[in-house]
């Protein structure tokens, strides 16, 4: 599915990533954890194409995508959410979610200008599809017409997940999906993530600080510290790893 091989990235003198390698198992949830500034989001940005790595490869489905533009990667079936919600604030929930389906639609400029005909039937089919597969699934039917700015934080996170799901992705990357949420909201989100995995068989890659969530739902954990990969394996193994304990608690402890 997705494999990252010996990925290195630096900004000026700062080494954000140094030789990171791992593989996301198809249909499973893989977590990337590490203290603040460990390079987790940089890794995400390299995988989704915003940063060009200095060395190493990103392989998706056997294809080397290291130098592909972000939008091309999306077309291959990679979706992601952002740490600081990156919804389109000038639009309604529904339009945000519709945008997720962009690469699956075909209407061109001339069809769009005419609208009636092919474009209209495509739009109506899309609406029906999204209602069933995303809006009902994530239980956001009561807010579909609401402007993004009117929604509380937890719901915005859910809408962003919905937008990613509208892409029908094969790899879903979630950057801190439960950051800043209370226990109840966290449980809801965990349930949605598991539902996505079960129902659609999506491969999921997530960055998270909430260790309970990571240990509970992930099959595989990759640990980064100062850009270096210090451990990788099943949760049970990683939580007992000395290097991980040292990174989180400090050497003296």
């Amino acid at each position: 599915m997705l494999s990252v091989q010996d990925l290195s990235l630096s900004f000026g003198g700062i080494k954000a990533l140094q030789g990171v390698s791992f593989t996301a198992t198809p249909g499973e949830i893989t977590a990337i954890i590490g203290p603040n500034g460990a390079g987790k989001t940089s890794l995400f940005n390299a995988i989704s194409g915003f940063y060009r790595p200095d060395r190493g490869k990103v392989i998706f489905d056997g294809q080397d995508i290291t130098s592909l533009r972000p939008d091309k990667r999306a077309a291959l079936g990679i979706a992601r959410t952002f740490q600081n919600i990156a919804l389109f604030r000038g639009m309604s929930v529904l339009d945000n979610i519709k945008l997720g389906a962009h690469t699956r639609l075909n209407t061109g400029v001339f069809g769009a200008l005419r609208y009636f005909g092919a474009a209209q039937s495509e739009e109506l089919a899309l609406r029906a599809d999204l209602e069933a597969r995303v809006i009902e699934f994530l239980e956001i039917d009561h807010i579909r017409k609401a402007p993004i700015t009117a929604l509380p934080y937890g719901l915005q996170k859910r809408v962003e997940l919905g937008r990613a799901l509208a892409m029908q992705p094969r790899l879903l990357m979630l950057d801190e999906p439960v950051a800043g949420m209370n226990r109840e909201e966290t449980e809801d989100m965990a349930r949605f993530i598991l539902d996505v995995q079960e129902e659609f068989g999506t491969t999921i890659l997530l960055v998270e600080h909430d260790m309970h969530l990571v240990m509970d739902i992930c099959a595989h954990v990759v640990v980064l510290n100062f850009g270096e990969q210090i451990a990788s394996g099943p949760p049970e193994e990683v939580r007992r790893n000395d290097a991980v304990i040292e990174a989180y608690l400090g050497a003296a402890a």
Partner: protein, 356 residues
């Protein structure tokens, strides 16, 4: 609480004119439009024609500034290209294509030429955003005017002195009066507006708005910034080119200075006043931008009674009023008149249960 919102199909829910007030408003507007050439006097027809031409151009500017969030201060260049392309096409193809078909070919030609020019001018938008683009388009405006005025091209463009324009001819129907031309302008303006509205009901238009709101997020959804920014530029330039073609048919003679920075600013002002990123914003904006100088003219006429002293200060006052409109709306109603009217229509629809 929204009353009477009982939809039974997604088709009904996706309608633009989703309540009877909006439908009534649009029907009344179209009826009003048809009444202009039938009952209006020459002055009203003149103003209406000017508004129609301007509306097409402003709708184009709205696509690029209002919806895609790319700042442009040079769209008058595309109006100029459209106008000159029409005239040059008529002069060049006059003998080859029969008179009755010439207009039907010249208008698409002008639109395509402008769209291509739009792609070229839009190229910097791929590498830089915001400011740089505003200056790049501004530069393009100066360069286009310069090239039109340049002696080298004077045989085709008429240079500084301008050039006489042809009369529109639709399959033998010669639109020699403004009243006749109004039909063409009005039909094209309504179609242009409709097409713009349609654009934003589909993936193409949504992609534009996504780029405006958060470009990296748009990219992650598979929207190619390169493609869509250029597309937005091309569409807006095509609209301006259409406006330019009509401009050429409308006036007996065109001059390069009619398309200078002042026109570009006027297009931007109209969209700020009307409401950026709203289809109807262009309509309201154009009405205000065309009417304000006229009102000032009438007021001055009444005050001065033809006095030269007062007439001298009319032009500067018009210019100030124009700037004050931009500044005033930015400070006090950044979403423009569209916002005010939306509020009113919403209140009407909910009446008597809720207000605001």
């Amino acid at each position: 609480m929204i009353t009477g919102n009982l939809k039974t199909s997604y088709r009904a829910d996706e309608q633009v004119l989703n309540n009877r007030w909006k439908r009534g408003f649009v029907l009344a507007a179209i009826a009003g439009l048809a009444a202009i050439p039938l009952f209006g006097n020459n002055y009203i027809v003149l103003i209406a024609c000017q508004m129609g031409i301007m509306l097409i151009a402003v709708t184009g500017v709205n696509v690029v500034i209002g919806y895609t969030g790319l700042m442009s201060l040079g769209h008058a260049a595309f109006v100029a290209i459209g106008a000159y392309a029409t005239v040059i096409f008529h002069n060049a193809a006059g003998g080859v294509i029969p008179e009755s078909l010439l207009t039907l070919v010249a208008i698409p030609f002008a639109v395509v030429v402008s769209a291509l020019a739009g792609i070229i001018v839009g190229l910097p938008s791929l590498r830089v955003k915001g400011l740089y683009l505003a200056v790049a388009t501004l530069s393009a405006n100066f360069i286009v005017i310069f090239l039109i005025e340049e002696q080298l091209f004077a045989p085709w463009t008429g240079g500084m002195n301008g050039i006489n324009t042809p009369t529109a001819n639709l399959l033998g129907w010669e639109l020699s009066t403004r009243r006749e031309l109004f039909w063409l302008i009005a039909v094209l303006a309504v179609l242009a507006l409709l097409a713009a509205q349609n654009l934003f009901r589909t993936r193409v238009g949504r992609a534009f708005i996504a780029i405006r709101d958060r470009d990296y997020s748009a990219e992650i959804l598979g929207i190619s910034l390169y493609r869509y920014k250029l597309m937005s530029f091309a569409i807006s330039a095509a609209y301006c080119g259409l406006a330019g073609a009509l401009f050429a048919y409308f006036y007996a003679r065109i001059l390069p200075e009619q398309f200078d920075l002042h026109l570009s600013l006027m297009l931007v002002a109209a969209i700020i006043v009307g409401g950026m990123g709203r289809t109807m914003g262009a309509v309201y904006g154009v009405i205000i931008i065309v009417m304000v100088p006229e009102v000032i003219k009438v007021v001055f006429g009444a005050l001065a009674g033809g006095g030269a002293e007062l007439a001298m200060i009319r032009a500067p006052i018009q210019e100030i009023a124009f700037g004050a409109l931009i500044v005033g709306f930015l400070l006090f109603e950044p979403f423009g008149i569209n916002q005010i009217i939306d509020r009113a229509l919403r209140a009407l629809n909910r009446w008597p249960f809720a207000r605001g």
